[in-house]
């Protein structure tokens, strides 16, 4: 026999034999059979094939837990309460869970394998989370690295969300990336505008989804969105409001302010501080200035940290600008959105001025 044929035959036999062994092992050891997943004490229940992670099993049943990293165990947003059948806490989960959460059986759903009947508890609003097959209606270039996207929902569908929440956008395979990937982006449109959805996306160098959005997406393209998610939204109180955002963090704040106008909330003094490096990083200024003119309860303060050119905006770091505008902040509520560094710095300033931590709400973009 020719040496080439022998080589092919021997390697095929070896890998074939090992594959059969693997299949046998899988049949005996990794076969968990059909299991039952019970959601919120019987409110919903699924019969599913065991063996996959809880996150993917749930999403195959159209129950979508929020997930920023797509199930790689690096963002810690896909938490849910697992009351039964979750097994012991895994070392891959511990960095994302505090003592309080551990006591309450909170787990990272992307790390748990469904092996037997599972009982979980998820926030009520997650049961209304849906997948939308949208079409891009409009792409706007806001700055050199920030784009605004408007998605039209399919005929007859609408989305119900709280201003400040986010949605996951799915990229299709492109270049050498073979898989669909998803990332979370805040919704910038108002909840009243429920036949469409607007997202603001800042370009991340080498980011899988932002590269797709910036280099490949065109108006008219179909895009899959899942949402809404998140617990960043306006709390129902009578306190004065201070909003602080940087970059694409403007998105949820815009949604909140548009929603306040739609709902006729005019008894809460609101100031929106928007931090940027230079004039070239500002956007939506005209819109917020117009709102400021029409609604006496609203004030818009863009602050530029590193722009010595001649401009009408406040100069200085956003933290210093906020600090110089207020005395005691005990009775004020804060909504922060932007990079972790900015949020941590702002939180320090706000608590330093007497604001209790329970009155500070934020959405960290990391």
């Amino acid at each position: 026999m020719s040496p080439i044929l022998t080589a092919i035959l021997v390697i095929s036999c070896l890998s074939g034999g090992l594959t059969i062994l693997l299949l046998i092992a899988e049949y005996f050891f990794a076969n968990y059979g059909e299991v039952n997943i019970d959601v919120n004490d019987g409110e919903k229940s699924f019969r599913v094939e065991g063996g996959a992670s809880l996150l993917t099993t749930l999403s195959s049943q159209k129950l979508f837990l929020p997930s920023g990293c797509g199930g790689r165990g690096s963002c810690g947003t896909c938490k849910c309460k697992v009351l039964e059948g979750g097994g012991p806490l895994l070392p891959t989960e511990t960095p994302y869970l505090n003592d309080e959460e551990r006591k309450n059986n909170v787990r990272l759903s992307c790390q748990i394998k469904v092996k037997n009947n599972v009982k979980i508890q998820v926030p009520e609003e997650l049961l209304s989370i849906k997948e939308f097959s949208t079409v891009i209606e409009k792409i706007t270039d806001f700055t050199h690295d920030i784009k605004g996207l408007r998605f039209k929902l399919p005929e007859g569908e609408s989305i119900k969300f709280k201003a400040g929440q986010f949605a996951n956008l799915f990229s299709k395979p492109y270049d050498d990336i073979r898989e669909e990937t998803s990332r979370a982006y805040s919704i910038s449109s108002a909840p009243k505008d429920n036949r469409a959805l607007e997202l603001i996306i800042r370009y991340v160098p080498n980011g899988m989804v932002t590269t797709y959005v910036f280099k490949h997406l065109k108006e008219g393209d179909p895009v899959k969105l899942i949402g809404p998610f998140g617990d960043f939204f306006l709390r129902d109180t009578n306190r004065e409001i201070v909003c602080i955002a940087g970059g694409s963090g403007l998105a949820p704040i815009r949604s909140i302010i548009l929603d306040m106008i739609d709902r006729g909330i005019n008894n809460r003094k609101t100031t929106f501080f928007f931090g940027a490096v230079g004039v070239k990083d500002l956007y939506y200024v005209d819109e917020f200035k117009a709102i400021e003119k029409q609604h006496p309860w609203f004030r818009f303060v863009p602050a530029l940290s590193r722009d010595d050119s001649d401009h009408p905006y406040t100069k200085g770091l956003i933290t210093d600008v906020v600090a110089s505008n207020y005395g005691d902040m005990k009775e004020i509520e804060a909504y922060l959105c932007g990079s972790p560094g900015m949020i941590d710095a702002c939180e320090k300033v706000l608590t330093g001025k007497g604001m209790p931590k329970t009155q500070i709400f934020y959405d960290k973009f990391s």
């Binding site: 080589a7 390697i11 070896l14 890998s15 050891f29 990794a30 070392p91």
Partner: protein, 199 residues
């Protein structure tokens, strides 16, 4: 002395000390640098490497001598060894996950990391190059794994202490200082060369 006559115990001790696969051949560096930040994980990964290298060494010996040599297919050893190691680790991971959660948490979760670990593949290739017998291969697999585990545990111990006690200039933080420490440990291991020596 003919290599076949070396006692397996000598090979075992040499593989741990003078022929340490990590400190003399610098194999298996990626998981070594990544996991050595934490002592507990290092010991888990070390145990997994011992386990896998001990069992894949004789398996690969059998594949080489009973399958590849008779057909004159020695040049296919790389592919054959990789397939055997990958299949072995996957099967073992499945079994461990099923039978013992405790074992899975301490050892099993590290198995996917070793599927493509060059220390394990290197171990299989060395036993071919050095023409070990089956018994010697088992001893060598066990020794190489133990040596690797010893090295990562030592480095992790030092790194954990350094984290608390000493300041490293920012440019050398992380893998930089870990490589320097590894180099110093490797030099210290030269001290063993008077005890056992094989080529």
């Amino acid at each position: 002395m003919d290599i076949q006559n070396i006692h397996p115990l000598v090979i075992f001790f040499a593989a741990i000390t003078t022929n340490n696969i990590l400190l003399t051949n610098f194999l298996g560096m990626c998981s070594f640098l990544a996991v050595s930040k934490d002592l507990k994980s290092s010991m888990g990964l070390g145990a997994a490497v011992i386990f896998v290298s001990t069992f894949t060494a004789p398996l690969n010996w059998l594949v080489f001598h009973k399958l590849l040599v008779p057909f004159n297919l020695e040049y296919l050893q790389y592919i054959a060894f990789i397939i055997v190691i990958a299949a072995f680790t996957q099967i073992i991971e499945m079994v461990i996950e099923r039978v013992s959660t405790l074992l899975y948490l301490t050892l099993g979760i590290f198995l996917p990391l070793i599927t493509v670990n060059c220390a394990i593949l290197g171990c299989a290739l060395f036993l071919v190059i050095r023409q070990y017998t089956l018994m010697q291969s088992i001893a060598y697999g066990l020794g190489a794994g133990t040596g690797w585990a010893l090295a990562i545990t030592a480095l992790a111990g030092i790194r954990v202490r350094m984290e608390k006690k000493s300041k490293v200039i920012p440019e050398l933080e992380g893998p930089g200082i870990a490589l320097i420490i590894t180099g110093i440990i490797a030099m210290a291991f030269i001290g063993f060369s008077g005890i056992v020596k094989i080529n």
